[in-house]
Amino acid sequence: MVGEADCAKKTCCQTAKAVEEPASELCFQCRGQLSSYARISAVIDGQTRQFCCGSCKQTATHIERNHWSQFFARRRNSARLQQALTTPTGANPEGQWRLLDSPDVAAQYVSTSADGSRELWLDLPGMYCASCAWLIEQALSKMSASISTHIDVPRKQALITFQDPTLSLVAIVEALEKLGYRPAPVSLQQQSPDSQHDATVERRQALKRIAVAGLGMMQVMTYAVAMYFGNFQGIDPEFERFFTLLSMLIATLVVFYSGRMFFDNAWNDLRHGRMGMDVPIALAIGGAYFPSVYQTLFRTDGHVYFDSAVMFIFFLSLGRFVESTARHALTPAPIVVSKMLPQHIEVRRQSKGQWQPQIVNPQAILIEDRARLQGGEIVPFDAKIIAGSALLDESLLTGESAAVQRHAGDHILAGTQLLKGNIEVSASTPWRNSWIARIERMLRHGGQTDPQASDTLQEAARHFVAAVLIITLITGLIWWVIEPDRVFQIVLAMLVASCPCAFSLAAPLGVTAASQAMRTKGILMCNFAALNKLPEVNLWCFDKTGTLSKGSPSIAKVDVFGSWTTDQALAIGSALEENSEHVIARAFHAIDRHYDADAVQQFDGQGLSGRVAGERYFLGKPEWVIGQCDWRLTDQSRVRQLVSDREDTIVVLGSPTHAVAVFQIRDDLRVQAAPTIADLVGRKQQVMILSGDQPANVTAVAAAVGADQAQGGLLPQQKQEIVRRLQKTGAVVAMVGDGVNDAPVMSQADVSIAMSGGSELSKSQADFIILNERLSGLNKLQAIANKTKAITNQNLRWALTYNVIVLPLAAAGFLQPWIAALGMSLSSLLVVSNALRIAR
């Protein structure tokens, strides 16, 4: 099942490009690319459709059987939303939740309300769009009449409410798994401090503030225009007074409702002895508003600045809202490695000389706890095999792509997957010392030492603010001596003129525009600070499997002998390999089975034999197959000839009397791998491959793509160590990775980039995620970062120049506060429109 897990859970389109009627080379279900020898098809809604693997076909036929085929039509309409943010980790979660129905476990997940209905929250990371939500609702409503589903698409969660006390939670989870999703119940503990909820409340507050400020601004501006023109053309004093009073009324509302945030922030900053950005903003707002109130109520000769006050508030709160929305939308929730393990394990624990069955969390495991594991399960704790032997897939943790056979006495690690076999294990370490807990610690550690791209701009703005306030104070004092009447006007003009609005907008605007530009290129920016690092990067490290290569072996070429056809050879091959979990066998899983093989025998590390349609066949390494059979010499030499010509893995199929076919199997490099690396090298960047795979494979790939250096057989810490050493020598490292084993090195690197097909974990660590799995995005990435840096610097220079020029003018009394305010708005507008150039 492992080969299929790679593609099984992408129910929606992989990329937005697959919008039209599915092209023949795409899998109908997951829209993944089909390899040229894929031969799996099924009739869906009267049309023959191609699939990349058995479980995609299974999911699609399951959907059709239940009369939900509208799903296929629907999802086309919402292709825009189908960005593959999450794809499977490669682990098969079968049975991860199988103990969910036991009362102790269920109590952790299900809440019961007063009317007896029960509620269960599910995380659904595979859900991208509303058509998924529709499908889920259909599937669940079929299970019980009392069930109701609320799907929260942006949060990728479902709330399931049901009355029926007999309804099995496991059945719910399984029903969704059948549709190709990977549901994970959310425990009550996780639900209570709901940060998402806070974000919603905050968003609503911000929207209301903006609405009040915006509408208020329009009103006040209208009156202000009337009064400006009145100054030139003449206006009745009573109308002017009326407009002023109205302006005051509305400005009061805006200042105290929408502007409160700035006063609160400024007060907070001051209380903690900081000079925040909000201090001058609050001073400017207060400085424009309060004296104007005084003017309006007690004197009638001066100018009022209500329009400036509301305009500040509107533009600034709008800017902050846009920035924080982008931030919220782009930051994926942190994910912990241990989530990939079964959350509840049935163990037998020794107490008072007796073995007692118990259900525990992986974190609560004790040394010597015993458990029985079978094929498909994920090893829940570091353990020693005490009985049996099994084939294990350790790729998740070590990066080694070939499955390994482990026997009694061997140690196995939590997070590896049991492919085949039955074993009895005994826990060898407590959770604290387990491999997976160490990876988690490394991640945290890496995150801490990660040089925080210190926000020098914020720092600079702070100093600027402090300096301006001092200068304003001094100027005010000087004017107090020279001409006390004008002090107020001049101080206000200075505060407004010096407001570092444009300055403080420049950086966040640049980031927002850059993230927009990246999105259109299929790249998601998760960490804004990394954008500043990107132009400095001079060393690019790549993981191999899943990053440079596609990560799943496929049949690249079939050479047939005699009168055999390719289809026949493929059919026999897939019948034999159906029973094998060897990595090579995954290539054959993309072919429909027409035959069943019997009397299948596996020969460790060599190949297998079995009877298909009454005839005996051998499939495996060339020399082994030749040795087993009695072929004509011409066949033998042709096979040897083909083997020596090829660099890829070769598998030979033959019957005892004659050769049938030679399969060339390859983990294809991504098409853009070589051009992308050539481009990087062309720009004087160093390129290095760090992989957990066998050194021989890694060197071959390095040669194929043209990388300067390559190291294979690396453990996660070793990768991290290499990067740390390189950083000490002055390299600024960007890591492009994929698997869980890349997560530590990604947090160590200055900039980390994940492929969207990668594991949840590496993505949660990544600064950037390439959504469309096109490596060529990397070059665009740096181009966008460079452009952003250039334009942001331009903006900063402009903003600074403006402030530096205007401040003396204001100090000298040449500037009316309203001109200063207009200038400030125009300067901000200029910065905004300049930043928009990034997105173009």
């Binding site: 009369h67 509208q70 629907r74 919402s78 939303l81 769009c129 409503s141 929260d152 009326f242």
Partner: protein, 56 residues
């Protein structure tokens, strides 16, 4: 021109109504998710038809 003494307060009342409507919409979660509802409206009839079919 005295008419503005009526018209402007009237416009303010309208403003108040608009704000109230907007606040109401925000409170009801109309602005919480601006993306998925756009694609949620597809084929409601066949939807209910299907559910009925599944129930019997």
């Amino acid at each position: 021109m005295e008419i503005i003494y009526i018209l402007i307060p009237l416009s303010l009342v309208l403003l108040g109504v608009a704000l109230w409507a907007f606040f109401w919409a925000v409170r009801n979660g109309q602005f919480d998710d601006l993306e998925s509802p756009a694609s949620e409206i597809l084929e409601p009839e066949s939807n209910s038809e299907n559910t009925a079919h599944d129930c019997d």
